[in-house]
Amino acid sequence: MSLNLSIDPLTRVEGGGRVKIEVRDGKVKDLQFSTTTSPRFFEFLLLNKQAEDAPRISERICGICYVNHHLVSVKAVEDAWGVEIPPTALMLRRVLNAGSFVTSHSLHLAFLALPDLLELEELNFIGLAKKYPDLAKKAIQIHEYGNRVVQEIGGRVVHPVTAVPGGMTKALTGEARLNLLVEGRQALNNVRSLVELVLELYEKRINDPLEYMADETPHMGLVRDGKHELYDGSVRAKGKKGEIIHEFKPKDYRNYLEEAVSDHSFTKLPYLRSEGYPDGAARVGPLSRFNVMDSMPWTVAESYLKDYEKLFRRPTHDTAAYNLARAIETVAAAEECIHYLSDDQIVSTDTRVPVKSKAGEGVAFVEAPRGLLLHNYRIDEDGLIRYVNIIAPTTFNHPNIERNLRLWAEAHIDELKNEGTRDRALWGIEKIVRAYDPCLSCSVHTIETDLVIDGEPCSIRRFG
């Protein structure tokens, strides 16, 4: 007996994607998770462009992580040119990055994930707004706040413009700063009620361990002095058993990361060199950041971390923890905005230094809401880009999402086979995909394919 199931398109996720499952003789024979957003070849189209334009061009890779692409791109160019930016510029960028987490996380929670967690009859944000208008209002205020931060500091709500090599082109006015502070405190209060709701939902349901599942995998994320970090710092990797296996500086990434190329999905599959493929395919994102850090640098977020630890071990491999970690990170991001906005230095007009372009190579990481993001450029003596490598978070997560789904499908095979329970089981699959908050337009060099090669091993090649 053979049965082909597909979820096409995956909905309430960013960008286009689909899942195909082939069941034969009562077993999951094949399961594929693929993105259907067409490839847009950013690694080609950035070539020969002026390096200072990269932050504005490359942010079009993703309509949700644009702030993070904008910032990692400027950092990579600055790394190549050996630029130090003024302290105010650094503070502005930190707030900008944190603001993007507020927007993106609240969007994901309220618009995409909460309808599932609340098991709404109308499974979407419109349904949420009807049934819980107060909650929807709060979610909108939080989302709006993140947008306001990006607009004030980045110059535009979507696709900001202000990060240039050497700093930021726009200073924050005293008035804008005060408004952002007042609105930020309100947003923090609203995020707290959102987190408490999510906590409550988790406490009720946590006895269902099979709900999301996942393999033991390594995890990767930024830390600064061991603490949770979104903008800078070093990359920490923990192994399957939770032990720290590496902590490396961005410029050394080639010593630690390699990319495999899968024969069936044509996604590049980055993995930790020391662990090999597939064991070294690390997960990234809120859950992974919670796994790799020692503690939170912000007090409110730190107190919620204690609640989280009552429900999940740290590190945990359970994909169900993604949504709760995401909610708590929204608190951390709002606190980070408030922290820097409270510092008088943020309104200094000393936000830029002029810089000279020169030949060189630059590497930078930031955390995007969905996980670790890398840009690596080589720039020539005219300041033109000659080589580009970009690894987006969903590229890291892609093989793990597929394995996670397979594991879950195997455990729920009867429900998938039985027509009466099938819809609910397929919904379960979608919930797992959604928990990762994959950004399918973001997976820069991932492309769709229908080619199935059973059991073909992946080819592996080292960098350079």
Binding site: G15, G63, I140, N147, V161, R352, P354, G464
Partner: protein, 290 residues
């Protein structure tokens, strides 16, 4: 009660994200109308048979997207393209310096760190990125990368009221608060090299600001934030080719351009969003049969 569809093709969902920033206004529009398809927001898996207003984001990069655009056109009374990818090809159109098969080779086989000679089989890739209007008839366009949130609200509500929305006829300089004195530097400056005077026109200071060649209506937020306009709203009402308009403006401003134009490099400046719908790109294709 109009049936509304939102579909994303070769773009980055940024226009849909901008649309979400309408918040209460969006909820209001959606409560008075019916959202029948929008894969980022609701769970409908199929394009319904009858649609009143279809909003398409993203250009055409694959055969699949071409068919999708055709299917949507067939089933919809009104088709709106939203954003510069759908309207002009957008930034993905910068890849049109190579044809599809070559791109696959370059990014999958020749880029350092990938497997040599290992090419993905992707028969549905089109040779070039095309604006949606090259494939099907488009009734209205909302350009911008992404469009201003107010523009999206205005076009939607005007259409739903049964009226005809009109785009701004001004250019970005008309919106810009920077002062123009009519004197120009001849040498082009790059923005990271020096810090521009905050009040004076950027172009007059020697920075390549696309304001004169770009459709206004955005309020010129980029020059206000200390950066150049990079032309995200595409050509103005009077001109169809943004890059040529800009060159024309440059030549008439300064006798001497001071730059040797090269397409791989300068397409990223004067055609950042509109290369796929430019005359130069058409010429190149005819001349070199690429």
């Amino acid at each position: 009660m109009a049936k509304i569809l939102i579909a994303g093709l070769a773009g980055d969902s940024g226009c849909q994200v901008a649309t979400l920033a309408l918040h209460e206004k969006l909820l209001q529009i959606l409560s008075e109308n019916e959202l029948v398809y929008a894969s980022t927001l609701i769970d409908a898996k199929q394009i319904p048979e009858e649609v009143d207003v279809a909003i398409i984001e993203g250009g055409i990069r694959t055969e699949h997207e071409k068919h999708l655009a055709e299917e949507i056109r067939k089933k919809s009374k009104t088709v709106i393209t939203i954003g510069s990818c759908a309207c002009f090809g957008g930034i993905p159109g910068l890849a049109n310096l190579e044809e599809g098969g070559e791109l696959l080779k370059k990014v999958y086989a020749e880029l350092e760190g990938t497997v040599e000679g290992h090419l993905p089989v992707h028969d549905t890739l089109t040779n070039y990125v095309a604006p949606v209007g090259n494939v099907v008839k488009v009734d209205y366009s909302i350009p911008g990368c992404p469009p201003e949130i107010d523009d999206i609200a205005y076009v939607l509500t005007t259409l739903l009221e049964g009226k005809v929305p009109l785009l701004s006829k001004s250019d970005v300089c008309d919106d810009c608060k920077r002062e123009r004195l009519g004197t120009y530097k001849t040498a082009a400056k790059r923005l990271h090299e020096s810090i521009p005077d905050p009040d004076r026109c950027l172009l007059e200071q020697g920075y390549l600001c696309m304001g004169p060649a770009t459709r206004g209506g955005c309020g010129a937020p980029c020059p206000a934030a200390g950066h150049t306009c990079d032309g995200c709203r595409g050509p103005t009402e009077k001109n169809d080719d943004q890059g040529l308009t800009m060159l024309d403006a440059l030549v008439s401003l300064a006798n001497e351009l001071g730059v040797n134009l090269s397409l791989p490099r300068h397409s990223g400046s004067i055609y950042r969003y509109t290369f796929a719908s430019s005359r130069i790109e058409k010429l190149l294709r005819e001349r070199f049969k690429i």
